[in-house]
């Protein structure tokens, strides 16, 4: 097999790219971060005749030269992965826009197949497309597809097999004479095996990443006289390219009869994007969604935990041997894993995927941007932050929707103050139950206040400024359930294969430590923490071990202090315990996720800083309250 049997699929957001991947490969795809970025790329193989072709898919982009990380990755994949060709999905309802990227990729001299999606929709709108003419102009295949019905997919595959690695002489945009002169002049200084014309254009468009392909880096200065005619040569190039794209689109389409736009869409947008109602509807939707997920999560968790307990007692037949305890803890880990995976990941992504495919999510992002902007975060960050109310582990993974590592890190650090269901269980079940509802409320208030302080400090340090937003509002469409399911499963995959085994292992480690009596030894050096917090020394067990499995904190506190906590601890001590065990990176699985996303060093620093912050604040509040009390 030729190692260059790679085909890249590109397209603008909402052009139906994920549906095409689905139609081509199904759920057998692998999603991974492209090395060194937060950008996810999807890979999957498919046999076509004698060929096995690997399809690569990067996130939707509008052009390959924009400065966002997604676009950068597409550019890198195009050249570093040595793809044998590109399928560009074009939206038949707005050809001129899609053709902009087509022209750019053709400039790179890579075999290109144009797949036109939404042809039926265009026809309904009264737009007729002349495929023959398009093929003539581009001298590349142009194929009408519909990934949902399967139209054109076989034809597309035949075309892939036929065109892979085929040398091409494709369409060239004719720039103004002065620009052509400049392209020619810069081309002569280009080294390497990339298309010289393409590199020259990128250099003229001031893309610094391409300067490294130049033999003489001063060449741009030597074409100074061109700059006299074109003071803004990058702009002139882009404008010419779009002009050409527009011209081609106009030439190959005929507007038969322009149908009136759909009234329903405007009505819905009128409500969802209303200045006042928009944010209210958005927040209400998410509250409802998370409410439903938390509720279902609770039911599933109770059921699974009950099942586990019965399994353990069945295993040991009432006998508490070391092996049974260790296995039991492993089983508990598994149960915890499933009760996170099902509601908080699968159900969550199912709902998100559903509203994403309908087109509502984009509207919600516009509304939430107004809120998250204040913390220096983009509108998209609302989704992972809200998910953190369920479970921090998938929420950290969900921060990948953000476009830079910095933003991702910023958002991830805020999870220290967003209690997950296990931490909610501590606040409600321990603080609320033994100390009263008002005490639980104080813990929440503390979390919010110190969370806001932390976010503002971080905003200062990182100097994050939410990037201005450009979003296309997709037409409302009926989502395909199969697509939504596949997407959710793909997103859940790495939790199932990586995090769940970890949960089982940590459960068993905890069991072993317990059985072997090592717990006491490990805990001793941490006694200064309880001193600072003004708590009995034994509370260190739930505090430290809560880090292995947060769900066990409550139970461990009870076994450490006896079941009548309100008699052992003062309300102030219960509050202190609540804050100390809620603020910070909640558990070792989250630490693992952080390491995966940000590397060992950053993850450890973040965890240590946040957990010390939590303990410091808890001890400080205790001291202040004591001091005030003594004063009066």
């Amino acid at each position: 097999m030729n190692k260059d049997n790679k085909f890249l699929i590109v397209g603008q957001p909402n052009s139906g790219k994920s549906s095409l991947i689905n139609a081509l490969i199904g759920s057998r795809v692998i999603i991974s971060n492209y090395p060194g970025t937060t950008v996810e790329i999807t890979k999957g193989k498919r046999k076509i005749g004698d060929f096995e072709i690997e399809f690569l898919d990067t996130p939707g982009i509008y052009s390959i030269s924009d400065r966002s990380e997604e676009e950068k990755v597409t550019e890198v994949v195009l050249f570093r992965e040595k793809v044998g060709g590109v399928i560009i999905i074009c939206d038949a309802t707005s050809l001129e826009r899609s053709f902009y990227m087509v022209l750019q990729i053709m400039e790179a001299g890579i075999p290109t197949i144009i797949a036109l999606n939404f042809v039926e929709e265009a026809e309904r709108k009264g737009i007729e497309i002349d495929f023959k003419k398009l093929e003539e102009i581009f001298s590349s295949p142009v194929i009408a597809i519909n990934p949902l019905t399967g139209r054109g997919i076989d034809k597309l595959m035949d075309s892939v097999a036929e065109n892979i690695n085929k040398p091409v002489e494709s369409f060239k945009v004719a720039y103004d004479d002065h620009i052509e002169y400049a392209i020619d002049r810069v081309s002569r200084e280009v080294r390497g095996d990339l298309s010289k014309r393409f590199v020259a254009l990128r250099v003229l468009e001031e893309d610094k990443d391409f300067y490294k392909y130049l033999k003489d880096k001063d060449v741009t200065r030597k074409i100074g006289h061109v700059k006299e005619k074109h003071r803004d040569i990058a702009k002139d190039i882009a404008v010419t390219r779009f002009g050409t794209a527009s011209f081609i689109a106009e030439n190959a389409t005929k507007i038969v009869s322009l149908k009136k736009e759909r009234g329903i869409e405007n009505t819905v947008d009128g409500i969802v994007l209303n200045k006042v109602w928009g944010p209210i509807i958005t927040v209400a939707f998410f509250i409802l969604m998370f409410g439903a997920i938390l509720f279902l999560g609770g039911i599933i968790q109770d059921f699974l935990m009950g099942l586990t307990e019965r399994a353990i007692s069945f295993l040991g037949k009432g006998d508490q041997s070391a092996l049974v305890i260790v296995l039991g803890q492993g089983l508990t880990g598994l149960a915890v894993g499933v009760s996170i995976a099902l509601p908080y990941i699968f159900l969550f992504y199912l709902i998100i995927g559903f509203i994403e495919d309908t087109g509502l999510l984009t509207r919600f992002v516009i509304n939430t941007e107004r809120i998250t902007n204040k913390a220096g975060l983009p509108g998209k960050s609302f989704i992972p932050l809200a998910l953190g109310i369920g479970c921090t582990v998938p929420a950290i993974r969900a921060t990948r929707v953000l476009s830079s590592k910095k933003e991702q890190f910023h958002a991830a650090s805020l999870f220290a103050f967003i209690p997950c269901s296990s931490r909610i269980a501590i606040i409600m079940g321990i603080v609320g139950f033994f100390g009263g509802v008002s005490l639980a409320f104080y813990v929440y208030a503390t979390l919010i206040i110190i969370g806001i302080i932390f976010a503002l400090v971080l905003k200062k340090i990182f100097r994050t400024k939410a990037e201005p937003l450009i979003l296309e509002l997709p037409t409302y469409r009926k989502p395909m359930l199969k697509n939504v399911f596949t997407k959710s499963w793909i997103r859940m995959k790495d939790f199932v294969y990586i995090v769940m085994p970890l949960l089982v292992i940590f459960g068993m480690v905890y069991g072993i430590l317990n059985v072997s009596g090592l717990t006491e030894v490990i805990i001793k050096p941490f006694s200064f923490i309880t001193n600072w917090l003004g708590l009995p020394a034994r509370t260190i067990i739930p505090l430290v071990f809560g880090f292995l499995q947060k769900d066990l904190t409550g139970a461990m506190l009870l076994s450490a202090l006896g079941s009548n906590i309100s008699q052992v601890l003062t309300p102030l001590q219960i509050y202190t315990f609540g804050v100390a065990s809620s603020v910070g990176i909640p558990c070792i699985i989250v630490l693992g996720m952080l390491i995966r996303e940000f590397g060992f060093k950053k993850a450890i620093i973040l965890t240590v800083v946040l957990n010390i912050y939590g303990v410091l604040v808890a001890g400080l509040v205790w001291r202040i309250v004591e001091a005030v009390r003594n004063f009066f």
Binding site: Y62, D66, F242, S246, I366, R370, L473
Partner: protein
């Protein structure tokens, strides 16, 4: 006394400008009708300027000397920039009158800022200031990171857009039957003209 000096300065600059605008000899009568002060000040200013060799008189006509031309150019440039700036806001005549007032007092700094504004003015107003109806994109100020993104989304000079919603954080408009949201920060760089 101080007040008289102030008025004389203005009259002097006005005379310089009027002479420069006409680029030829100008009848004194025209000065009297164009400059809204009593003839006393005009006479005094003319005499002073002649003494300083800024103008030469030929009977009822005045003409700039070489030295005068240099000084006049300065004031005329200021006048034109300010006039250009106000032209789109008010009628030409009003703009002219406002300029007559400002040009004497304006600092170099204000001048530079106005110059920037007036080049923008030629190309329509910023989309942010436009909150309803249809408009034509006249230019996208380049040099921002989003320039190419906008172009590749079809937000392109010459395209017509229809504003759908003006939200607190941005603007939603329709372009070639696609709806697009952009933050105000980006809308700032799009110049538009009202479309009739």
């Amino acid at each position: 006394m101080k007040k008289e000096q102030g008025i004389l300065k203005i009259v002097k600059e006005d005379i310089l400008r009027i002479l420069a605008e006409n680029n030829d000899k100008v009848p004194i009568k025209l000065l009297n009708s164009d400059i809204k002060v009593s003839d006393y000040f005009i006479d005094k200013a003319v005499r002073k300027m002649a003494r300083n060799k800024l103008i030469s008189s030929e009977g009822q006509f005045l003409r700039l000397t070489g030295e005068g031309k240099i000084e006049a150019e300065d004031i005329l440039k200021k006048h034109l920039v300010i006039e250009k700036y106000f032209e789109d806001l008010k009628s030409k005549k009003e703009a002219h009158n406002i300029s007559n007032l400002i040009e004497h007092y304006i600092s170099e700094e204000v001048m530079e800022n106005l110059k920037k504004l007036s080049t923008f003015k030629e190309k329509g107003i910023s989309l942010v200031k436009f909150d309803k109806g249809e408009c034509l994109i006249t230019d996208i100020v380049s040099g921002n990171d989003f320039f190419e993104r906008l172009i590749s989304m079809g937000v392109f000079p010459g395209e017509k857009i229809k504003i759908i919603k003006d939200l607190p954080n941005g603007i939603i408009f329709k372009i070639r039957n696609k709806k697009v949201f952009i933050s105000d920060e980006i809308a700032e760089s799009i110049r538009v003209l009202a479309y009739e």
